[in-house]
């Protein structure tokens, strides 16, 4: 059982201090996510979804609580250790794509490998493979601004995949896309989850998008409200 747990959140709290006032963004979240799961996080705006994703993604540290990733407590890690985790174990996909401007799809996909000890030739091969797996073969040399929104998001997924991370975190990945393109992106996620066994956590406002996941976690005011099984 323990071996199957990828992410273990233990009473995670996050307090932002803005001037005099404090914002309690997370008020004690406890939850475990198994390897190979696909989870949607839902909830009203300001409920703490992104805050939770940032903590899971090691971009941020919880104010209190324990976070165990693949059996290692990472809530006590310093900046450099967190950077290493992001590089090796985590892949991000953002609502606004966050690709480097005026840079080719290939170079964008290679980016995480620049910060690991993979040599240039292997990095290129890995990035090509990754782009192929999201259906962008032949678009390697296109610059960011020469790609459509859906294609950009696929480059972002390719970049998230390239280091074979333990988990892909997608914060509103379809938020900037139309329904049809959004569906295509979600199909890529489901396919990665089903055939490659990659763990996926995504945030969405759209119940139809959440349908793609195995279960939905509903968050309200910094606490888990309920969990809904989607029967997949």
């Amino acid at each position: 059982m323990q071996n199957n747990v990828l992410i273990e959140l233990n009473d995670i709290k996050k307090i932002y201090t803005v001037g005099e006032s404090e914002v309690h963004a997370l008020k004690g979240v406890s939850y475990s996510i198994r390897k190979g799961d696909m989870v949607a996080i839902m909830g009203p705006s300001g409920s703490g979804k992104s805050t939770m994703m940032n903590i899971i993604g090691c971009l941020d540290k919880p104010t209190a609580g324990r976070y165990i990733l693949e059996g290692t407590e990472v809530s006590t890690f310093d900046k450099n250790q967190l950077a290493r985790i992001r590089n090796k174990q985590i892949g991000f996909v953002f609502q606004t794509f966050n690709l480097l401007a005026r840079t080719s799809a290939l170079e964008n996909t290679e980016l995480p490998l620049l910060y690991s000890d993979v040599n240039a030739k292997t990095a290129k091969e890995m990035a090509m493979k990754s782009l192929e797996s999201v259906g962008l073969k032949g678009r390697e040399t296109h610059k960011t601004n020469q790609l459509s929104g859906g294609e950009r998001q696929r480059v972002a997924i390719a970049r998230a995949l390239v280091n074979s991370p333990a988990v892909i975190l997608a914060d509103e990945p379809t938020g900037n896309l139309d329904t049809k393109t959004g569906d295509e992106i979600m199909k890529i996620f489901t396919q990665l989850n089903e055939s490659e066994g990659i763990t996926i956590i995504l945030v969405t406002h759209d119940p139809e998008v959440a349908e793609f996941a195995r279960r939905s976690i509903h968050i309200r005011d910094g606490l888990i409200e309920r969990i809904e099984e989607n029967g997949r």
């Binding site: 971009l59 900046k79 950077a83 290493r84 090796k88 991000f92 966050n98 005026r102 840079t103 910060y115």
Partner: protein
């Protein structure tokens, strides 16, 4: 991340924004160019001075009235009236390390030939002057010992004076007027060429006796040029001259000399010292450009960091450490200033050549000043690139990703 990867990332980032990169480097290009060009002027002056001293011959000694150690208080060397023609003769007769002497008096005067008019230096010298100064006559001949002794009104023209008064027409045997006194032209000196800041060919030589009696109305001379028998005997010649003059001028043992003897290497040293100061001064002024260029790099790098906050956030989200970002931006700054340095070196060499072609100033670009400029521009990159790079690396990944 290793060095090669960092450099690649930095180069790629620079290539993405070629215009900005060029503008950033422009300050360094101009700075390094200015330093090289300015220093080349100083070095040119130095080379010029050294060449002139070489030409004059280093077994040359100068005797002037006035004491060396009290120069300041006595109103400058040469202000005494104590040096006589007989002193020069005594030096020649009594010092066996001395082979030639030439008593000198100088003045400036208007020179007239027919309807032409020229203001020039008049040098009253002895007949040995051309040998002492290693300066040949091109046309005709220098005046003889007899002509000097007789105080004849004869003259030798410097090539510039000749050009201006005669414009290529034969001059020998013609009569020019110096202060209304007619002088017969015996010859024209070889051109020494325009060098540095003044021409050495704008001069007329006449017998020193004639100059003393007819032009100046004095019975003292201003200086004595002495030629030692050889380079090795200059020190000996100097000692002998001092001994002879102390006796002749009745200077008690321990008392201050009323003259001083200087040899060429002393003079060459102080002259090259002053060109060295000139070089430092010019280089210092130009370094200010380099400093401004460095501040320019810092400025644009800071703007660039703000502009690229998103990029920094993206890099951090995929695992770039603080150190990676710091090194990337630092490398960008260093690469920019080194590239700027290289272009600046070309600009500097080009300007130096242009200066020596378009002005009388001679310029010399030394390999050492190129190396120094290159090194300096690299340091400018490190120094002024560090603050923006550090600022970039200290960004928080979430804030950076959210930055609009």
């Amino acid at each position: 991340m290793n060095f090669i990867k960092t450099s690649r990332v930095a180069l790629m980032a620079l290539a993405r924004n070629k215009m900005r990169s060029f503008l950033t480097a422009l300050g360094i290009i101009i700075g390094v160019g200015a330093v090289i060009a300015m220093v080349s002027i100083g070095q040119g002056a130095k080379a010029d001075v050294e060449k002139r001293f070489d030409e004059m011959g280093s077994n040359l000694l100068f005797v002037r009235p006035g004491s060396m150690s009290f120069r300041g208080r006595h109103g400058g060397g040469g202000s005494y009236q104590t040096m006589k023609e007989a002193d020069a003769q005594a030096i020649l007769d009594n010092c066996d390390a001395v082979t030639y002497v030439s008593p000198n008096v100088n003045t400036r005067s208007q020179v007239i030939y027919q309807n032409k008019n020229w203001n020039s230096s008049i040098y009253g010298v002895g007949h040995s002057y051309p040998i002492i100064r290693n300066w040949d006559i091109q046309d005709g001949q220098f005046f003889s010992e007899q002509q000097v002794k007789a105080g004849q009104k004869v003259c030798i023209l410097g090539s510039e004076v000749y050009e201006n008064l005669f414009e290529g027409a034969p001059a020998i045997g013609q009569v020019v007027r110096i202060k209304r006194i007619p002088f017969r032209v015996l010859g024209v000196m070889e051109a020494k060429g325009e060098t540095g800041f003044m021409s050495r060919d704008d001069v007329i030589f006449i017998p020193f006796k004639t100059a003393m009696m007819r032009l100046l109305g004095v019975d003292s001379i201003q200086s004595i040029d002495v030629s030692a028998a050889s380079l090795d005997s200059t020190a000996e010649a100097q000692a002998q001259i001092e001994e002879v003059l102390r006796i002749r001028h009745k200077i008690a043992p321990g008392a201050e000399d009323d003259f001083n003897v200087r040899n060429m290497s002393d003079i060459a040293e102080s002259a090259s010292e002053s060109t060295r100061i000139l070089t430092i001064l010019l280089g210092g002024i130009a370094s200010i450009y380099l400093l401004v260029g460095g501040i320019g790099i810092m400025n644009i790098m800071l703007v660039s960091v703000t502009e690229r906050i998103r990029e920094i956030g993206i890099r951090m989200s995929v695992g770039a450490k603080e150190r990676d970002i710091l090194l990337q931006f630092l490398t960008e700054a260093i690469v920019l200033s080194l590239l700027g340095g290289i272009l600046g070196i070309f600009l500097g060499i080009g300007s130096a050549q242009l200066i020596s072609r378009l002005s009388p100033m001679q310029t010399v670009v030394l390999p050492s000043s190129i190396a120094l400029a290159f090194l300096f521009s690299g340091s400018v990159g490190v120094f002024f690139g560090f603050y923006p790079a550090r600022k970039a690396s200290k960004l928080d990944p979430i804030d950076a990703l959210r930055y609009e």
